[in-house]
Symmetry: C2
Subunit: 404 residues, 2 copies
């Protein structure tokens, strides 16, 4: 008889956003007259920018003609896109990353879930707490996390690095050395960041201890302050210890269009083995490239027109972030994030749990947010709101919350 | 110090098609005057059908307007596509598969590589020999295949089922029971098929022994003979033992557009655990859906217009297949496949090895094919040509081979 991967059965419950969707659906059904405003899931609402739409139409036309039709893409992505990324995201920030160190994919969720595969099951991982649940869940599936304690809601073989108001949401270097360190800044869900100096300390630590940092920079487009690094490769020595994950979902509205990339510098090695070779092998064996037309859409993100249009799009969402941040502050909440990120993180009032506040907000204000506890045990007592709604809905939601 | 997944280092050499590309590039550079015809990699050359192009343009326009913009797709794929698949690929063939047993993905290569993840590392796999290399390679990466013998070019913990001219390319039931059986029919690379009765014997065997069949039906659109099953679910009892992989790459020319799906019936269980739940969990945790516009393109494949246009496209390639098949036969080769598949499989002349024949064909006829040995040890002494070129190139290549 065949056997299943028993690690899957260890995963507690189902995915955070499925639970939220179920609760909202039940509330909607019971209260068909209430108009719900969703500031929960981190999904964008603004349409693709005109430069991207034009590029998509052109690429579609190419696919319709034998002379310009494109079959299988190059394993690691089209050169036109990888060069645009290398130039705009790295060279222009003074980072030494070449086009052939960039692996184009269909999104950062896949990459952040798949990247653990090139590492031994014997590595111990360290994660910020709270954080995007995919890092831990995919390591559970791989059998790397030990036993789940339903009381503390933690895994025995994961190093949690609490990021709370008490430490200004800056993780401390762990006492026990992990093999793999996941860092996500600007952070999802807290919306907080660390400075270049603080990130440099992590790079130095990883190089000294022989750890790998998986740096998720999906929200870098929202960074407004000079002191905050957009890429880990702004730090000295990162080429020997860090992999960077990037997404087009949040800077260009590609949540339903799907494009991302991962950077694996050739200097990042375990003994003689380049992690670049391992990830290339994985791409070549298990992946067949992002669609040509989507890669052309990605290229348009870096055109002069595209950049100008997306700067406006980001500004639109950041105006929402300011409305939420200021509105909640006025209403007496303790509020974090929202300055270099599209997420606002608030402390629940009256010692409510995160899910209690979720229910309260849904019932009393008909506003959907995300319970902080869904992102890790240290998220308990916090709550996430996103700036990705329309301005009108966002302002209306804030007014409702203020009136509570 | 972090540790890598040592299984990756066990993989011999690099991927078949990368090696071919390198050889062809070297030959081109040395012989810039020679015009090479490529009948090697299974990549299509005909443009996307007009119905698909129209659908893509419409979907792109939707993404450009706030009212019709789409963000994150449903985990398992859009209902419009899953319903079209359930109706056209299954209900109309009398197969009992519902829309919610269909998981839309970005292609069959990813699915065929990822599916092993939901099974324990302790399962033994069985594969046809020769076959698409991704099945074995991804099991090597997962640590399921034991030790590689460079002499026989086989893995100690894999059951190889030879498919050669001696057994009419029909695999025999293995003596030792595997946990997981990969079957690919119409077969890549041999282009041969099995009848519904022969496939039924596999389904009965799997149900009796408690094995899972992973049935890769990527080439089903090329089936011309009545006796050959398009889906494993045409066989009685397949719902309790089989997963089916499907692709839009070959029936609709999506190699560079990327779309596929996997069927996991809810009756397929290990004890109480539905494999459907495990695969759904994987999709939900590590994947974020195929792009909306590509799913709309997939929907167009099932429109009346789309079906008519794609029938012509398949006929175009099958005309090529006939040209290759007949031409080589006339030239005295032993030829197989090509009747229900876009692949022609030939025995190399004069006991040449597959790679010797590759070099011979490249140098003497400037035609690129694929060495049979790249698909498994029993592929040695065989060679694959594909029908995916243009008619003109295909006919010219056959003339060149005939003149040798």
């Amino acid at each position: 008889m065949f056997k299943i991967n028993e690690n899957y059965l260890k995963l507690p419950g189902s995915y955070l956003f499925s639970n939220i969707a179920k609760k909202v659906a039940a509330f909607s059904e019971a209260n068909p007259d209430k108009e719900i405003i969703r500031l929960g899931i981190g999904d964008v609402t603004q349409p693709l920018a005109p430069a991207i739409i034009d590029s998509l139409h052109r690429a579609v036309d190419e696919m319709g003609s034998a002379e310009t039709f494109r079959g299988y893409a190059p394993d690691l992505g089209y050169e036109f896109l990888r060069s645009a990324i290398a130039k705009n995201d790295y060279a222009e920030r003074g980072c030494d990353i070449s086009a052939d160190e960039i692996f184009v994919s269909d999104g950062a969720k896949c990459d952040s879930g798949n990247i653990q595969e090139i590492f031994s099951v014997d590595n111990k991982i360290a994660v910020c707490d709270p954080v995007y649940p995919v890092y831990v869940d995919t390591n559970v599936m791989a059998g790397r996390t030990g036993i789940y304690d339903t009381g503390t809601e933690t895994w025995s073989n994961v190093i949690y690095m609490p990021c709370t108001a008490e430490n200004d949401f800056v993780p401390e270097l762990p006492e026990e050395t992990p093999g793999i360190i996941y860092l996500c800044f600007p952070n999802n869900p807290t919306g907080t960041t660390i400075t270049k100096e603080q990130l440099q300390a992590w790079v130095d630590y990883a190089n000294k201890e022989g750890a790998v940092i998986i740096f998720d920079a999906a929200y870098e487009a929202y960074i407004m302050e000079e002191s905050v690094p957009h890429s880990i490769y702004e730090c000295e020595g990162a080429r020997t210890c860090a992999i960077e994950l990037r997404s087009f979902s949040k800077n260009a509205g590609f949540t339903g269009t799907r494009l991302g990339f991962t950077v694996v510098p050739k200097d990042l090695k375990c003994g003689d083995v380049m992690l670049h070779s391992l990830w290339a092998r994985r791409h070549g064996t298990k992946y067949n490239g992002a669609p040509y037309i989507i890669q052309r859409a990605g290229e348009a993100v870096y055109s002069e027109e595209g950049k100008a249009q997306l700067k406006e799009q980001v500004a639109y969402y950041m105006k929402n972030a300011a409305v939420i941040y200021e509105g909640l502050k006025d209403a007496g909440y303790d509020v974090f994030g929202g300055v270099n990120a599209p997420y606002i993180w608030l402390k629940t009032p009256d010692k409510m749990t995160s899910w209690e506040f979720f229910d309260y907000l849904l019932e009393k204000a008909n506003v959907v947010g995300t319970p902080g506890s869904g992102f890790g045990p240290s998220g308990e007592g916090y709550f996430r709101l996103t700036a990705f709604g329309s301005y009108e809905n966002t302002a209306a939601a804030v007014e409702r919350i203020k009136r509570l």
